[in-house]
Symmetry: C2
């Protein structure tokens, strides 16, 4: 399969494929001569994965590169790959050196995680993300203590996370399992968000009613 065919098979334009090759997202094809390389089904698959992480997961190219590097590193366990993916997904949160409100929020986050009995790495950037959300809700005057978020976490998220991990096909190759894990993390997040908004619209229609003070 040459580059033009890879482009046709994946729907990704040739210049973009070249860009992904340059950026190290896509492994080089097998060189058959100085000016020709052969691509295979694995490249099509990898392109699909890249596009999924990019378009549905909204990950930046740099994050995708890190995730794919973890996927390809056979020495990493499933749990480590997940950790790498989580690390890559987490947006940079600029440090708040000695911001008291920040530390309070971070403490609240840690307390919630501990109370739920969740086993989360002490260095996980996700803890900071949670602190940021708590801090933001707090600043806006909305309930944001651990207790307010707890029903979300307990009733809904444990169920979902359990299901997601359980759905990984462990009986196939490592690559397949690991890809499913990464996609599950990123794309299922999106799926859940979309479903939440749909449920929200439905609940809003029922509770507030469709009719408004006026139409738009």
């Amino acid at each position: 399969m040459r580059i033009s065919q890879l482009s046709a098979a994946s729907g990704v334009p040739i210049p973009t494929i070249k860009y992904y090759l340059r950026e190290g997202l896509l492994p080089a094809g097998e060189q058959t001569s100085a000016t020709r390389a052969e691509y295979g089904a694995r490249h099509v698959r990898r392109l699909r994965l890249i596009r999924a992480l990019l378009e549905v997961g909204r990950l930046p190219i740099a994050a995708i590169r890190k995730v794919l590097a973890a996927v390809d590193d056979e020495t990493l366990s499933m749990h480590h790959v997940l950790g790498t993916a989580h690390y890559a997904i987490a947006p940079e949160i600029e440090p708040h050196p000695d911001d008291e409100a920040w530390h309070a929020a971070r403490g609240e986050a840690d307390r919630l995680i501990a109370d739920l009995g969740w086993q989360v790495d002490a260095q996980a950037p996700t803890r900071d993300e949670l602190a940021q959300v708590i801090l933001t809700l707090d600043r806006l005057g909305l309930p944001a203590t651990g207790e307010a978020l707890r029903p979300y976490a307990e009733k809904a998220m444990e169920l979902v996370a359990e299901h997601e991990i359980g759905v990984i096909p462990l009986d196939r190759t490592r690559e397949e399992a690991v890809e499913a894990l990464v996609v599950g993390t990123v794309v299922h997040g999106r799926a859940l968000d979309v479903l939440r908004r749909l449920a929200q619209e439905s609940a809003s229609a029922r509770i507030f009613g469709i009719s408004g003070t006026s139409g738009d």
Copy 2:
């Protein structure tokens, strides 16, 4: 309050405040002379809201402008504001004129929504988002039919959405209620995503074990 004090109170740099004023995100202060304007608590509040939507909700400036316009439009009902927010949140999905796979995915999405008995506008862009997620999962060979997503929707999201709508303070001013609605939509989405990833890490630690084939 002058612009420098607004900047100090909100933590947003003056040039950025000027930028938001230009972009129509922040209403102009009350002009007290040709070269002086007075800002108030409402501006501080609005800046906090903007930063929340931007940093936590990751909405682009253009989307924030639309959301805020809906918040400020007193003729819109709660349900309409929510709809506007959902519309602004939804990323542009380029149309797939006569892509068969796309239509199948969209049909699957509509079927799922109907089966759940959810009351969702037929034109809601969220329907397309759901279709895109289904299509992506499908292309990657992961279970993505309505049935696969159904437990997510049923057991988890209805609960969450119900809770979110219920938490809106309807006994206060319209502005407060509407802001809570918008923030709830955007920031709670983030909160949930973060909690899901934390639960996932915990589930992964329990199921796969911390130990890997190797360290990182």
